[in-house]
């Protein structure tokens, strides 16, 4: 009996959920605020990992530019927070503008005065940008590595743009959020961080269900079809461009939400979110966790980031080696990732390698006989 069948046992699923919910409720009281904050950040990163899994694991589009949408979401949240807490500064605009002699709020900041607009912008703006980039690229049937390096180039372009525009969005310094106010509370305070943790945990679960819903049914089948044989999907009468654009902008929207949550918990959004290594890291979370398994993406994001912070605290120089090795290892030896390996025949084959006999699937009556003591 393979483990994948055990996985879908109802009792196990139920107890898994109970433990999970208990942990989420208990975490803010059990963990010190520093660790809680780290966990919250990693959980928020798992939302962007879900998006990567949707486009790479299910649709076969390797985007190396998810950092764009992640940062856009972060900037949307940070702009709102900066504006709402700028009433005591000169001209009623955020403090940093004074450094560059800007007296009038740039026009695109105006709508961010409204919380409703911001709430929508956090996921709609990244989704729209992703949809636009995706449409322009997919329309020409650009795919494979071409798509990957084009997304990487657009990442660099956005990085250059945000990095260079001091007068518009504080350039390379980024926007701070930890000293801003949200509904009368300091964003960086312990109380708010706990709230953000709960919000993040809830949204991770919501995003997970959403992603499950997306890949279920016909839509999901078409995505997998595109991954496995795009021309055949096209010849069958579907237009892959539409499906690819939709899934790419869904992933963009998820990245935006993730970026906003990450920003409020780390206290700053800066163009560093759009560096090339960070976006490729997102791919490795999914690859290690198991591409094509949504849970794998979440677990991969949390555990790899946790490992990263542990290793970086102990041996700062070795993380690059480990990460590099992880990239090579996971694509050469473990292409389905850890969860994919477990759900497949991985553990059984491993046991077999060590000389332990493979359990034969056979008629139930025979198995019962074996259990009763008739040694083989």
């Amino acid at each position: 009996m393979s483990l994948s069948k055990i996985k879908f046992d109802k009792k196990i699923i139920l107890s898994f959920w109970i433990i999970l919910i208990a942990l989420i409720i208990a975490a803010p009281t059990l963990l010190p605020v520093f660790r809680l904050n780290l966990l919250g950040r990693y959980l928020s990163l798992s939302i962007v990992a879900l998006g990567v899994d949707l486009i790479w694991g299910y649709t076969g589009l390797l985007s190396l530019g998810q950092g764009i949408f992640f940062a856009l979401g972060g900037y949307c949240a940070a702009m709102y927070l900066q504006i709402t807490s700028s009433s005591e500064f000169p001209n009623n605009i955020p403090e940093f503008f004074a450094l560059y002699g800007v007296e009038k709020l740039p026009f695109f900041w105006e709508p961010f005065k409204s919380p409703v607009f911001t709430f929508l912008a956090i996921w709609i703006i990244p989704a729209l940008v992703a949809g636009l980039i995706g449409f322009l690229v997919f329309r020409n049937r650009i795919k494979g590595v071409y798509f990957s390096i084009l997304t990487q180039a657009s990442l660099l372009v956005f990085f250059n743009f945000f990095n260079g525009q001091q007068k518009l969005i504080n350039g390379t310094n980024g926007l701070k959020t930890d000293v801003t106010q949200l509904f009368g509370q300091m964003v960086g305070s312990e109380f708010m961080q706990r709230i953000f943790f709960w919000i993040t945990a809830l949204l991770v679960i919501a995003a997970w269900f959403f992603a499950k819903w997306v890949v279920k049914g016909r839509f999901g089948n078409i995505l997998i079809g595109i991954r496995d044989d795009e021309p055949r999907v096209r010849f069958t009468g579907y237009n892959p461009v539409i499906f690819k654009t939709i899934i790419f902008s869904i992933a963009g929207g998820l990245a935006g939400i993730s970026g906003a949550l990450y920003t409020v918990q780390s206290g700053i959004v800066s163009p560093q979110f759009m560096t090339v290594p960070f976006s490729i890291e997102m791919v490795i979370w999914v690859a290690v966790g198991g591409r094509g398994t949504l849970l794998g993406a979440i677990l991969g994001a949390v555990f790899i980031n946790y490992a990263k912070s542990l290793v970086s605290e102990a041996l700062p120089a070795s993380w690059m080696f480990i990460q590099g090795g992880l990239f090579i290892l996971v694509v050469t030896a473990l292409p389905e990732g850890v969860l994919g390996w477990i759900q497949g025949d991985g553990p059984r084959n491993l046991l077999q390698k060590f000389g332990l006999k493979r359990k034969i699937e056979t008629y139930p009556s025979l198995e019962v006989k074996n259990k009763e003591g008739n040694n083989e």
């Binding site: 590099g324 090579i328 050469t332």
Partner: protein, 384 residues
């Protein structure tokens, strides 16, 4: 006129760095459909090779030849990066043949490891390691086949690797004891100083050109000519072109595609090393030096299309000239009284980083009309 010449020269100079860096990438991509994200780090290795060569040439024995170190380092950089590339192909890329996205990720892992390697391993021992790799890979192939047949070749290979390792350790310790700058690991950037005959400027038609830039253009020119000759005149070049056009058919006709892959990847990586020499002449050399150029190289490959060197050449000079025109705000000085909104827009993009934004936008627009680059490969297949 002077302005135009100046602008053209700057553009060609930027473009020639891009060209020599992208040349190897384009050939490998054309042949194997693989984008090597470690290409920038192979450039970095080339740049560090230049630095090490320079320091070794300062030793008393080699001091009289100091001025020629840059020429030597071009060949050394080609060999060093080429060997690392061949090793990369043999160990990782070959296993991932047919899955380009996985290769992309694996080579990214390699690039992280290489970056951290130059940070945390002293350069002297790094040199030793490269030398032992070189000997270990090539010593067994140099013996005549009679010997290979008479002795069990497995043991022979093994002992040659031991010999290689010993030589590597020996050279490493000799270098580290004689050149103090190389004996400690450091993450700091290092500087390559050009030899005296390359400093200063040359005056052509009333305009002064820095000699290092001219040198880079010359290096690029020689590399392009050499590669063109190799691809078009030699037997292996013909095989490479054949495999690029149709892998299965070439395989059926008896071309060893494995060997073709190794040779091409070695040459492509070696060219990255040569690009590293050029880059080391432009600024200081650090572990991240490759990353600054790599995306530009990708754009050249995307714009130029695969399987045609002319596309690569045109694309890199095009990007180079556009970068200079937009980034340095030269359009304004060429056309001083343009309408205000236009000149405002151009001013907005008149920095090096904003020029990249503009050029990327232009490339995306270009791809809307020619999705497979300047010179697309002809074919009737649905998928290639």
């Amino acid at each position: 006129m002077e302005l135009l010449l100046d602008s053209l020269f700057n553009g060609v100079a930027i473009g020639s760095v891009l060209l020599v860096a992208a040349l190897g990438l384009a050939i490998v991509f054309g042949l194997m459909g693989v984008i090597n994200l470690a290409h920038g780090e192979l450039m970095m290795l080339g740049a560090y090779t230049t630095y090490v060569t320079q320091l070794i040439f300062k030793l008393p024995i080699l001091k009289p030849f100091y001025n020629s170190y840059i020429i030597v380092s071009i060949f050394l950089a080609f060999i060093v990066s080429g060997v690392v590339g061949i090793l990369l192909e043999k160990t990782i890329i070959r296993k991932l043949y047919g899955s380009p996205l996985e290769t992309l990720l694996a080579t990214w892992g390699v690039s992280l490891i290489l970056q951290q390697f130059v940070r945390s391993v002293p350069l002297a021992y790094g040199t030793g390691l490269v030398i032992s790799l070189l000997i270990g890979l090539f010593l067994p192939t140099t013996f005549p086949s009679k010997i290979k047949e008479s002795i069990n070749f497995k043991y022979f290979k093994f002992s040659s690797w031991i010999f290689a390792a010993l030589t590597g350790v020996l050279t490493g310790s000799v270098i580290s004891s004689s050149v103090s700058k190389l004996s400690r690991a450091s993450a700091r950037n290092v500087d390559v100083t050009a030899p005296s005959w390359m400093r200063g400027q040359v005056e052509i038609i009333g305009t002064a050109f820095p000699k290092t830039r001219l040198m880079i253009i010359v290096i690029t020119l020689i590399s392009v000519i050499a590669i063109t000759l190799f691809l078009n005149q030699s037997a292996w070049g013909m095989r490479i072109r054949a495999v690029t056009q149709n892998r299965q058919m070439s395989d059926c006709l008896g071309i060893s595609t494995e060997k073709v892959d190794i040779i091409t990847f070695g040459i492509g990586s070696g060219l990255a090393g040569v690009a590293g020499v050029a880059v080391s002449l432009l600024g200081s050399v650090g572990p991240n030096v490759g990353g600054n150029y790599i995306v530009g190289c990708f754009m050249v490959v995307v714009l130029g299309g695969v399987g045609n060197l002319l596309g690569t050449v045109l694309a890199s000079f095009g990007i180079g000239i556009m970068t200079d025109l937009i980034g340095a705000g030269r359009l304004l000085s060429i056309w001083p009284n343009m309408p205000l909104p236009l000149s405002n827009t151009i001013n907005f993009f008149a920095t090096t980083s904003m020029a990249r934004v503009m050029i990327f936008a232009l490339i995306v627009i270009f791809l809307q009309f020619k999705p497979t680059g300047l010179f697309p490969q002809k074919g009737r297949m649905v998928e290639n």
